[in-house]
């Protein structure tokens, strides 16, 4: 029914409509206390908003840039070139017998998905404060959309990686099935950190200043420019506490086959990812009610 039609309805017709319509949904608003469970039904109901916010981020990202989506290729490829020169050629960092550029790129691509998703989601609530303080919707949608929009750049960069494979005459192993797992792990680790930081950023804007520093620091704790096998075995467990260590290892497994010791590393990292993710989710839900007042 359109509003213009309604205006001409008689009272009797309105009454009929009122009586014949399905029962209304009931919403109860009351102050929440402590931990708030996740409302999956509501999230599902708002799935289109998730789609539109992701789509908005994508559409806006390369607006008014001369190179557009080429940036998704330029960044990892240039970093790869720099790494290959300094770490591969000059410092002679080992690369598990894989040509160094290919090795570096295979680490950089999941890393950039992670770094992008982490940065975007951490800033997401503050960046969208005009929405958060003016409209109701499940707040989780915001960091979620920020993370998802990183997948497009990732896909483009992934094609470049495949081209590199062809150039180097490498045949991907059947372990390729590990790649989807690696992507899922990347998204979850970015989301885990993003949930924590986006919520903290609302209250403490200091967070946004630590993010560039954090991602840089974190990159060196992750086996991107060097193989995880470089880490002495006795420190491997500590090293695996970094979720991204296992993720990159998992990604390389999918591309080059299994390396020694990677299974335990991936196992430990995955556990850390889940721990951080559910922790972040719980924290986010607990504090999201203050977003509209603080953002």
């Amino acid at each position: 029914m359109s509003p213009t039609d309604d205006a001409t309805l008689t009272d009797a017709q309105i009454l009929e409509q009122v009586q014949s319509r399905p029962p209304l949904s009931v919403t109860v608003i009351r102050p929440s206390r402590g931990w708030v469970p996740i409302n999956l039904r509501e999230l599902w109901h708002y799935r289109e908003l998730l789609f539109f916010l992701t789509w908005r981020d994508l559409k806006v990202r390369y607006k008014q840039t001369a190179l557009g989506a080429l940036w998704a290729i330029i960044q990892p490829v240039l970093t790869m070139a720099v790494f290959s020169l300094f770490f591969g050629r000059l410092a002679k960092v080992p690369s598990d017998g894989i040509p160094y550029p290919l090795f570096a790129l295979s680490g950089l691509i999941p890393w950039q998905l992670f770094a992008y998703a982490l940065t975007q989601s951490s800033n997401s609530i503050v960046a969208n404060k005009n929405l958060v303080s003016k409209v109701y919707f499940p707040r989780l949608i915001v960091p979620l959309a920020a993370v998802l929009s990183g997948l497009v750049d990732f896909s483009i960069a992934f094609v470049v990686l495949l081209v590199m494979f062809v150039i180097y005459g490498f045949i991907p192993s059947p372990a390729l099935v590990m790649i989807p797992l690696a992507i899922i792990l990347t998204i979850f680790s970015a989301l885990a950190v993003g949930l924590w930081l986006s919520a903290l950023n609302v209250r403490y804007r200091d967070v946004q200043y630590t993010i560039p520093f954090l991602t840089q620091f974190w990159m060196f704790l992750t086996p991107i420019a060097y193989p995880a096998s470089l880490i002495p075995a006795q420190f491997r467990m500590v090293y695996g506490l970094n979720p991204m260590a296992g993720v990159v290892e998992c990604f390389r497994w999918g591309l080059f086959g299994q390396r020694a010791g990677s299974l335990s590393l991936i196992g430990l990292s995955s556990f850390m990812v889940l721990l951080a993710f559910f922790g972040g989710l719980a924290y986010f839900r607990r504090v999201e009610k203050t977003f509209a007042d603080l953002a």
Binding site: P3, T27, P31, Y46, R56, K59, V60, Y136, F137
Partner: protein, 424 residues
Amino acid sequence: MSVAIRATGISKRYRLGRRERYGSLRESLTRFFSNPFAASKAPPPEEIWALKDVAFEIQERQAVGLIGRNGAGKSTLLKVLSRITEPSTGEVVIHGRVGSLLEVGTGFHPELSGRDNIFLNGALLGMKRQEIRRKFDEIVAFAEIEKFLDTPVKHYSSGMYMRLAFAVAAHLEPEILLVDEVLAVGDAAFQRKCLGKMEDVAHSGRTVVFVSHNMGAVNSLCSRAIWVDKGQVREEGPAQQIVSRYLESVREGFEIGNAKPDDKLIFERVLLKNRAGEVTTSFRGDEEILVEIHYTARQKIPKPHFIVAVMGPYGELFTAAMTFDDLAPDAIEGAGVIGCRFKPFLLLPATYTIVIAARGADGVSNLTASRYDAAFFSVGGLMSEYGFPAPGADAQVANVNALVVPYQWEMPDGSVRAPRLRSS
């Protein structure tokens, strides 16, 4: 008839001193811009209750106006009803899907085209893609932007922007619609159109909760009204009756009163008077405005420095401060009145807020807390009446800080052109 919204014991507490912000952007800007003379403000109270024990019922298919002065808690109440912010105590039970229209244009992205923004904004307001597609043409036609559908909205005029934003929101079909001050947008013709649309909605059997300072709109749209004052429901009843009671109370002056026990001075109330000496809240842009502060000095106060400032939509416009002009009275004691007569050259149509403050003989210490929303008044009329004939001037005026001083343009060819500003 059954109940659409039942609120019981709703309170909302904000803690000050932490970074909690409340109210609209305009209010925070007001606070921000008035900081210069709030420099020596006494430490703020630990917490304030924006709403305190609010209870009411709204019947299905009723249009209800929420009225009250700035800072009374109307917007907070609407935010609680629309689940943007949680109440500190109390409970609201809502029967039906809620759509809220809290600020027109929320979520518009300047880089995206009109078409894209319709979908994005629709999704934000809780519409399904199918629903938006079905209403798409209607929305575009209502907003009158057919030719600019694929232009990024950053290139839109503010009038087009507002029209589009309102059009999307107005085509939402929730059972309960919450509306905050949307009619204060666009040119007069579009305002009438919006009002018409709101009337359709209000008369189409949907429940509408409508916050406005525009008493005419409340009267014509709403059957009932709830008057919110100092975070509480002061009165509720038939719209006509409540609106006239409210206007009466404003005509008697803006009550302030509440001072801290150790304040030396109490601001009792503020009256705004025109040249004829009549108390009013609506002025013409070129009219004199007398701000009368009725105070009580609890003890003899030597050299009290009064400050009166007028804030436009985007911040402070002009100030009269005894801390600058050194014209403080020698001493005051007991009840009294101090007036400040402004003669602005030209104020454009908008709503203005009066800020008042009082400092001691040193010009620094506060005699009582400064009031950032001591009173408000509106300037009416069309831009053309003030010497601004350009089409669209009425739409643009919402986006400028509206104090005009005489000026002239000096053209490339050396000629001079000046607007024929109306000034009495």
